[in-house]
């Protein structure tokens, strides 16, 4: 009998729901039945409500089963991995997969993340090989033409940032990958690092060769132990195979990199505070200018890019800028890996061209709430993102489109709440979070967030005269904070107040009281 190829994900979202025990059960059951199994530990396909999702390969086609518990494994073998209640059919035919355009996440969930051979067999390193034949200026043109903008949320054109670093004169330049993915509702960076780490390595190597940087760092948050482990292993393999080192793929270019682990500070996702942290200092925000592109890590010119931005670089160079640019809407070009999370029936990672409406993401793709209750609000873009009511569900997913509606797409996390959500409580939480995580450098954030919690508490006690005070405080924080933590905390607070006023008047007392 030929070997049975079985895939059990090693993504943290699968491990957190007992994927390890499922893998053990598969191997134990195979041994009892004397069936030879080739077990592949892949990343996650992104259908997180189905995790652990097990796949078997039959005649070159992968068939999915999920969510699988260790107790289901025996019955799945009994059914010869065919007709079974957990059978989902060929993975690629599942509606959730068919509706996506996977460019950045093309390999995630498909390959063993630590197999460089599998990576190459699926298009990996083609972009880097092409880049090695190009001049720095031509690479910048390619990046600019692709239209890629910073996927951390700021949306700054990546090609322009790279060009600033490329043209700077210095004896040392750096590439820094921002993997401090602290926004609630986001996990795309984690999934990419755990599911296709070589794409990040390749993207960073291309960036290094383009701008003349020979060293790179991934600043990776400590809350992601699996990603830290996988990234470190991948770097070790890439170095051993000559992808990294004194001669990248045998070329005249040198590039090497390492992982640096954060220490639980949300504000370190802000690029200047990240650089201070990387230097071994308190993660306090720096004033700009100077731009990190000119004076970044240790005062040297530094590219600081998000993981998804860097992880998208290889496919741009592999398939050409035009291929990437031709997807999208308006000034938001290419695809965006949207993370659908919170109280939603079908949560996970959905990569699609810019332009899908928020309502389609929540109702059609996400399938509405898991609790079955009506959707009350959707927070887009992490803890600094606005709460959108159903009346704004026709907003298309794009940088300018969300900005025009008083929100932001941020790192493209979408968190769904049902009608039991207390929006005053969520506004309070936004202020509390800002107070806990403030770096303390600027007054509007450091003190404003504390006063914000107190003011929301006054409103909660029925003192509606504090509402104008909260609005005024938000204006001050928005206009005069140094970075997005203090500057954007007003987004969730004010959107909650504007769109859900009833929650702020629930205990309103008579003025005479």
């Amino acid at each position: 009998m030929s070997k049975l190829k079985i895939y059990v994900p090693r993504d943290a979202a699968a491990l957190a729901v007992d994927a390890e025990k499922v893998a053990e059960a598969v191997m134990a059951e195979a041994k009892i039945r004397e069936i030879e199994v080739e077990l592949v530990r892949n990343g996650s396909r992104g259908m997180l409500w189905l995790e652990p999702m097990v796949e078997i390969e039959r005649d070159g086609v992968r068939h999915a089963f999920g969510p699988v518990t260790p107790h289901d494994v025996r019955a799945l073998f009994d059914a010869d991995w065919g007709s079974h209640a957990l059978a989902l059919g060929p993975t690629e035919e599942i509606e959730w997969m068919k509706r996506q355009t996977r460019l950045t996440f093309a390999r995630v969930g498909v390959i063993d993340p630590l197999s460089l051979d599998a990576y190459e067999a699926h298009g990996g390193l083609k972009g880097l090989r092409r880049a090695l034949e190009m001049t720095g200026a031509a690479m910048i043109d390619e990046m600019k033409e692709s239209g890629l903008r910073g996927r951390g949320g700021a949306g700054f054109p990546t090609g322009i940032k790279w060009d600033t670093v490329r043209l700077a004169e210095a004896n040392q330049k750096y590439i820094v990958a921002n993997a401090d993915e602290g926004d609630s509702g986001t996990f795309a960076d984690r999934m990419l690092m755990e599911g296709d780490p070589f794409s990040l390595i390749e993207g960073m190597a291309i960036a290094g060769i383009c701008v003349g940087a020979t060293r790179g760092y991934i600043y990776l948050r400590s809350e992601y132990p699996e990603a830290i482990h996988t990234m470190n292993e991948a770097i070790r393999i890439a170095r051993a195979r000559g992808v990294l080192g004194a001669s990248v793929l045998g070329s005249a270019f040198a590039y090497d990199m390492e992982v640096r682990v954060g220490a639980g500070a949300y504000v370190c996702g802000e690029e200047t505070s990240l650089l201070n942290s990387l230097e071994g200092k308190r993660g306090v925000v720096r004033a700009k200018p100077p731009l990190p592109a000119l004076e970044g890590f240790l005062g040297k010119p530094t590219v600081v890019n998000n993981i998804i931005s860097l992880g998208t670089v290889p496919v741009i160079f592999e398939k050409g800028a035009a291929h990437y640019r031709d997807f999208g809407l308006g000034r938001s070009r290419g695809t965006i890996p949207i993370q659908i999370a919170g109280n939603v029936k079908f949560g996970g990672l959905f990569e699609t061209a810019f332009g899908t409406s928020l309502g389609a993401l929540v109702d059609e793709i996400g399938g509405g709430t898991e609790t079955g209750r009506p959707v009350k609000a959707v927070q887009v873009g992490g803890p600094l993102g606005a709460y959108f009511p159903r009346s704004k569900f026709d907003t298309p997913f794009g940088y300018e489109e969300f900005d025009g509606e008083g929100g932001l797409i941020g790192h493209a996390g979408v968190v769904v709440f049902d009608d039991t959500a207390d929006m005053l409580g969520m506004a309070r939480f936004a202020m509390e979070f800002c107070a806990v995580e403030s770096c303390g450098k600027c007054t509007p954030c450091r003190i404003g967030a504390v006063r914000g919690v107190e003011t929301v508490d006054r409103i909660a006690r029925g003192d509606t005269s504090a509402i104008p005070l909260l609005t005024d405080l938000c204006d001050t924080m928005k206009d005069s904070s140094l970075c997005a933590l203090g500057g954007f905390t007003p987004y969730p607070v004010m959107s909650a107040l504007t769109h859900f006023p009833d929650d702020f008047h629930a205990n309103a007392k008579e003025a005479a009281e």
Partner: protein, 159 residues
């Protein structure tokens, strides 16, 4: 509870950690992570030695240790339970799990239970936002936590 390291032990081990990081650019965070991995917290006695090794002031080292949520200035319990408080977990009933954990352990945030020695810490996002409520017990991530699962996990660590 871990006992504070003996001075000779501390200096020897710390010297080795500093030597391991001699070529690092920006070595302080990796050093502090290594120190915490060794003793479970950053012993105050270590600060002047690290400061001298890196040629920075003791105040600078203290500033960094106190800035980051991860670094502990005193030992934690035998086990560390971090529960996600962020919005996506709240949307999936996280506050109920927070309350259940506090009640069962008999502590508030940052406290250590008398039974089992479990230190309870908040965490803001483990990246398991579609499968919340999520938590991390001694470095192991757990998702889709309900009260029954919380109970069995805490029983595993005798709390």
């Amino acid at each position: 509870m871990p006992t504070p390291p003996a001075p000779a032990d501390l200096e020897g081990r710390l010297g080795a950690i500093l030597a391991d990081h001699a070529t690092f650019e920006g070595p302080l965070l990796p050093i502090l992570h290594a120190v915490q991995a060794e003793w479970g917290y950053v012993p105050p006695e270590a600060l002047p030695i690290i400061a001298e090794g890196l040629n920075i002031s003791r105040a600078e080292v203290h500033g960094v240790v106190s800035f980051y949520h991860d670094f502990r200035e005193e030992p934690a319990g035998r086990h560390m339970l971090k529960i996600c408080r962020a919005e996506a977990c709240q949307a999936r009933g996280g506050q109920g799990i927070e309350a259940a954990a506090k009640a069962r352990l008999g502590v508030d945030w940052h406290g250590t239970s008398s039974k089992g020695g479990v230190t309870l810490e908040p965490v803001y996002c483990l990246g398991l936002c579609a499968n919340g409520p999520a938590m991390m017990l001694d470095g192991r991530v757990v998702a889709r936590v309900d009260e029954a699962r919380l109970k069995s996990l805490l029983e595993e660590v005798d709390a």
